[in-house]
């Protein structure tokens, strides 16, 4: 899904609001929590010593409650807010070193932003709003309107080009907001709680649309959210923030299964584990594995099969299943699960097939099998 070149790297980033903010970086203050710091110095530390690296093509969710500094972090990526200390590097360019004109160019070419409040220009039509970024970049009128129309069509607003924002519903407005960003075709999308202001149903719809768009043409998306389910659904990786610090950064599964501390565990206790954990992590080794070659020779062995046996060839590739009654179901016909299937998606199949279902890796190797009992256990023990 993502290659490993870091497109955005955030290095020991600090943002402190207040007079003489550099005071917060002193040794003494670093050990305080945000409340103590505010009480002693009057400073408000929004982001404290954050180091992250975001790869090209991944959806990176920064999650945390309000006031955890996630929006400030996002605004330091495109230089809307300048850091107190540390550096953000985008494609090798340190943001704080850029001159105003270079920064404007970078924002035009490299990254577009989607806002929680939509931030559409009320006197511009949907089309003109979508064309805004291109207009600023100096693209000729005809061309920018054409691109804006394409972007609006992509988000499903091809018929509402000439309507003003106030004539559109919240969901439609945010589609315009998304189109305004997509029209620039930026390699990086910054989304600041983009779907938080929408109704749950519309939010779900928008999330799916974002994933579809991402599948069409992958971009680096930095997505700010306070909604855990949203973070888990969208994020390739999640950074969990609290009081300006990153508690843990990793895939949803890592955060769920291997929480770094009690706070992370606490955060994730309500998440629907079945939709995060994948079958490969809970699969058990099959009770009986038979090599394809042996199968042809030793038919006796096969009659002793208790429930089922998995058949593999000499390269450990999955070939099929031998049932209790001696019947062989080949890999092409029989039910099997791919490694990245979530437990939720596997439930129906596991419940309806009389024997444990094999789990197959992307290289066709047998990873293990999963039985209803195993599935239930995985939900209890985590």
């Amino acid at each position: 899904m993502s290659d490993m070149t870091p497109q955005i790297s955030i290095d020991q980033l600090w943002k402190v609001f207040g007079e003489r903010p550099e005071r917060a970086l002193e040794d003494l203050c670093q050990s305080m929590d945000a409340e103590q710091l505010n009480a002693r110095t009057g400073l408000k530390a929004a982001v404290r010593d954050v180091t992250l690296s975001i790869s090209s093509g991944e959806i990176f969710v920064v999650m945390g409650l309000s006031g955890s500094g996630k929006s400030t972090l996002l605004r330091m990526i495109n230089g809307l807010i300048l850091p107190t200390a540390g550096e953000v590097t985008v494609d090798g360019k340190p943001i704080s070193q850029l001159a105003a004109a270079e920064l404007q160019k970078l924002r035009s070419n490299k990254m577009a932003m989607v806002f929680q409040s939509f931030a559409l220009f009320p006197q511009r039509t949907a089309l003109e709003n979508a064309a805004f970024g291109l207009e600023v970049a100096g693209v000729p009128r005809q061309k920018r309107l054409e691109k804006a129309r394409e972007a609006l069509e992509r988000v499903g607003l091809g018929k509402d080009l000439d309507r003003l924002p106030q004539q559109l519903s919240g969901g439609m407005q945010q589609r315009v907001g998304l189109a305004r960003a997509l029209a620039l075709d930026p390699p990086i999308l910054l989304m600041d709680e983009a779907f938080s202001a929408l109704d749950p149903l519309i939010r779900r719809e928008m999330q799916e649309q974002l994933l579809e768009l991402q599948a069409e043409s992958p971009r680096t998306i930095v997505f700010i959210s306070h909604d855990l389910d949203e973070a888990v659904r969208l994020g390739d990786r999640i950074a969990l923030m609290k009081e300006g610090k990153v508690l843990q950064c990793g895939t949803p599964r890592e955060l769920l299964c291997k929480p770094a501390n009690e706070q992370v565990r606490h955060f994730f206790q309500d998440v629907d584990a079945a939709s995060v954990i994948t079958v490969d992590t809970v699969a058990e080794s099959p009770a009986c594995v038979i090599n394809q070659a042996e199968l042809l020779q030793q038919t006796d062995e096969c009659s002793k099969v208790q429930k089922m046996a998995c058949i593999i060839d000499e390269h450990n590739l999955f070939k099929g299943v031998l049932q209790k009654n001696g019947e062989i179901i080949s890999a092409e016909k029989g039910p099997a699960l791919t490694a990245e299937t979530t437990i939720r998606d596997a439930m129906e199949l596991v419940a309806n097939v009389p024997y444990p279902i094999p789990v197959i890796g992307s290289d066709q190797r047998l990873i293990g099998v999963i039985s209803p009992r195993r599935l239930l256990r995985s939900m209890i023990l985590r």
């Binding site: 809307l80 207009e135 970049a137």
Partner: protein
């Protein structure tokens, strides 16, 4: 004797006033060429506007204004303004009204030309606002008669000092409301502008001004109304027009004449107010307004 001396002493000029009159005196002696240029420019502008307004005869101009009123405001207002203008004509005050209108337009035009940029600069640079704000307070609270005196000293009596006094009196609202309009543009829109790569200049023309326009237009309306209210006072230094009629009414204790002049001012005021207010309407949902708005902003923003 002593008491009388003391009373006179309290009303005679103190050191502050002394300083001010020295300053005016110095300007009179050294800055005469500047006053000549200003005199020439304003005379030209106000004169030209009056000439243009006098070209169409009353029977043509009155219906034209009524048509404008019908288009911008409503049909009933068009009928009302036509009746009002006929009344002015019937009272024999058409020509003074045109003079007044010319003075108001010239002064407002200059006030907007100076005031809008000042408002923009003030909104963008807080330290400029720190200077502008007390000056505006001074302009608004200083009794208008006070700056009639230096105006007369610099420019004599007539159209030019009247225009300048009117200009000073009417400029504060447009500066204040331009400032307010720009400062009130929602933060997220400014952020969106910046996030999409706007330079400071693009931010002003593409984000701040279009969003501040309704408030700014309210400032324009207020400026025009204040200019009109200054007309009677300006007539004391030879501004002419309807103010002159009212002033003559006062001087001759002629209630009827004063009332006629006053009524004509009111009629003009109502028409100007409603017409300029229709420009300030911030209702985007009205069907033709977005297009007008678009046309207006496109004057600057089209590349």
């Amino acid at each position: 004797m002593d008491v009388i001396d003391q009373v006179f002493a309290t009303v005679s000029t103190g050191p502050v006033g002394e300083g001010m009159s020295r300053c005016v005196e110095w300007l009179l002696n050294h800055a005469q060429p500047i006053f000549l240029v200003i005199d020439y420019a304003i005379n030209g502008l106000a004169g030209a506007i009056e000439q243009i307004l006098s070209v169409p005869a009353p029977w043509l101009l009155a219906p034209l204004i009524a048509v404008l009123a019908g288009w911008r405001v409503s049909l009933s207002f068009a009928i009302l303004s036509l009746l009002g203008l006929n009344l002015v004509l019937f009272m024999g005050l058409w020509q003074p009204m045109i003079s007044t209108l010319a003075l108001v337009i010239a002064a407002s035009l200059l006030a907007l030309l100076i005031g809008i940029p000042i408002g923009i600069f003030s909104a963008r640079r807080q330290h400029i606002w720190a200077i502008t704000r007390p000056v505006l307070d001074l302009m608004q609270t200083m009794p208008a008669f006070v700056y009639l005196i230096p105006a007369v000293m610099f420019f004599g009596t007539g159209l030019v000092p009247s225009t300048i006094a009117t200009l000073i009196f009417s400029m504060p609202p447009v500066v204040r409301l331009t400032y307010l309009g720009i400062r009130q543009v929602p933060v997220d829109l400014i952020e969106a502008g910046r996030a999409f790569g706007c330079s400071e200049r693009q931010l002003l023309w593409k984000v701040q001004l279009p969003n501040a326009l309704p408030t700014l237009m309210a400032g324009v309306n207020q400026t025009i109304m204040l200019a009109l209210s200054m007309v009677v006072i300006a007539s004391m230094i030879g501004g002419g027009g309807l103010g002159d009629v009212v002033l003559r009414g006062i001087q001759q204790l002629d209630v009827g004449l004063g009332f006629e002049g006053g009524l004509a001012v009111v009629i003009l005021a109502v028409i100007l107010d409603r017409l300029t207010q229709s420009l300030a309407a911030s209702n985007f949902s009205r069907k033709s307004l977005p297009q007008r708005f678009k046309a207006f902003t496109n004057l600057w923003t089209s590349s």
